[in-house]
Assembly symmetry: C2
Homo-oligomer: 293 residues x 2
């Protein structure tokens, strides 16, 4: 396998902060890769009317998002339609793992938003003890066992199909509007049921409680639009629910920056666009001071 | 004299940060006053082409500024075309002194930009000892004396006329492109000469040195687009040349916020628009937590 290409700036997230960060790094002639891109669902698309983005009175979120993406497209930035599972330090810069390969970048800008969905009761304490956000990473640990997949994003459909190959039984909890039809006879589709809590004993998962049913499982895999940034970047310092950043939008890890909703309130468009710019220009300064091209 | 009207938010500055701050406070139904407004010269107007403001590829600065002002105009925010000379604490909120009256506001947002012109040699050490930025405040101290007015903004024209009424002689150093014709015979117009330094002795101003001439004066009045924020707001804490702010864009003085170039680099449009929003929303939160309407 050949050494993967090295990017200057990897932007994780496709909302206004991520698009602004990618644009600003590209304008400064850095080699940028964007995870997300126009295909992903950004919160801005759901705003019927935006009044407080200076210069665009009464615009729809959808129109703004279309213009944002068109602007970024002019710079031919590669947009990778995959979820980044893990960011880890390498000898030079960082590795970014997606499901089937690793990207490399000298700097990373996190614009991962805020998960709208709250964590389930019991979830946080059982992460790594039966609760997982990555079938590729952790699936094989559940060979021959019964697991639940809670799927808010449709991403879990493919994962259920994959895990059905080695798990004994899979409960697929459909939390989106397009319930799939599975061909495998060891996947049970649960719809119209709402997860309430994850039950553990002796420090591991024992069951998933839904509002009208409890199923005994040894693993729970959850696929949400966003997931906690500290699971994405081990060692990342938080402040409450947000990524802790300086005024220059540096995180506690040199070379990793953050922008947008994930750095704190207000959750607003102009704030995100501005922070994306500041994070990108400081990433550029970091690269230049490190003597990178 | 009746008590002047109380505003919720006073925004000082008419660039992108100030316009965004005024807009966002008005959207949240606060009573806003903006000092500056569309008439003032904002740096953005001088950008022939802006590439990195997300959603508006290759737009001219002038077009953007026109759109920004039009957006703010929809909210019928009073725009006061006067320079704020001083911000001072009052029993409730702050007083904002302009030349001929005082405005009152519960919160203040400083978006005063960065002075493009550097200070003259000798200027800083002689502020209050012959160097002044306000003819109304300090002019009467120079009754019967000779002063120089260095005018970058045309604001000094009216001040020269005013001070000619009681000063013995005025050198008007024209640093803009429209030299005025004075009727008073004690004003001497100097054009095509560049100020080099202010000379002092015994802690007071003695002369102004221009590149081809030295004039003996006891006072030097300087009118620039921006002037040092610590002179505008006594007690304001700086960090280097910038106003020191928290991530919430609070200054060291509760109720006073800052946004845009004056808070630090990068000096960029999206950063300013974003910070204007954040400062305004935090000013709104400050007002609401103080139980103001």
């Amino acid at each position: 396998m050949t050494e993967p290409e090295m990017y200057d700036v990897a932007v994780i997230g496709c909302g206004p902060a991520g698009l602004s960060a990618a644009l600003n790094a590209a304008v400064r002639r850095k080699k940028v890769v964007l995870f997300g891109g126009e295909f992903c669902v950004s919160k801005i698309n759901r705003s019927p009317r935006v009044d407080n983005f200076l210069g665009r009175p009464g615009v729809t979120g959808e129109a703004l998002h279309r213009e944002f993406v068109a602007h970024v497209r002019k710079f031919n930035i590669p947009m990778v339609n995959k979820r980044v599972i893990n960011v880890f330090p390498e000898a030079e810069g960082f590795g970014l793992a997606i499901k089937d390969r690793v990207y490399r970048a000298r700097t990373v800008i996190l614009t991962v938003g805020m998960a709208v969905a709250r964590m389930l009761e019991g979830e946080e304490g059982l992460v790594g003890r039966g609760v997982s956000y990555c079938a590729t990473c952790d699936g094989p640990l559940f060979r021959g066992k019964t697991v639940a997949i809670i799927d808010y994003t449709k991403e879990g459909i493919e994962e259920a199909t994959y895990m059905a190959g080695f798990c004994s039984w899979i409960y697929y909890v459909c939390m989106h509007t397009e319930p799939p039809q599975f061909e495998q006879d060891n996947i049970e589709l649960l719809k119209g049921l709402k997860p309430v809590r994850i039950l553990g004993a002796d420090g591991t998962v024992k069951a998933l409680e839904l509002d009208k049913r409890i199923v005994a499982v040894e693993g729970v895999f959850i696929f949400r639009e966003a997931f906690p940034p500290q699971d994405l970047v081990p060692g990342l310092e938080l402040e409450g629910n947000h990524i802790k950043v300086s005024r220059a939008l540096e995180t506690n890890i040199p070379g990793i920056f953050a922008a947008g909703d994930c750095t704190g309130k207000p959750y607003q468009l102009a704030k995100s666009v501005g922070e994306g710019q500041v994070a990108a220009l400081n990433a550029v300064a970091y690269l230049d001071s490190a003597g990178s091209k």
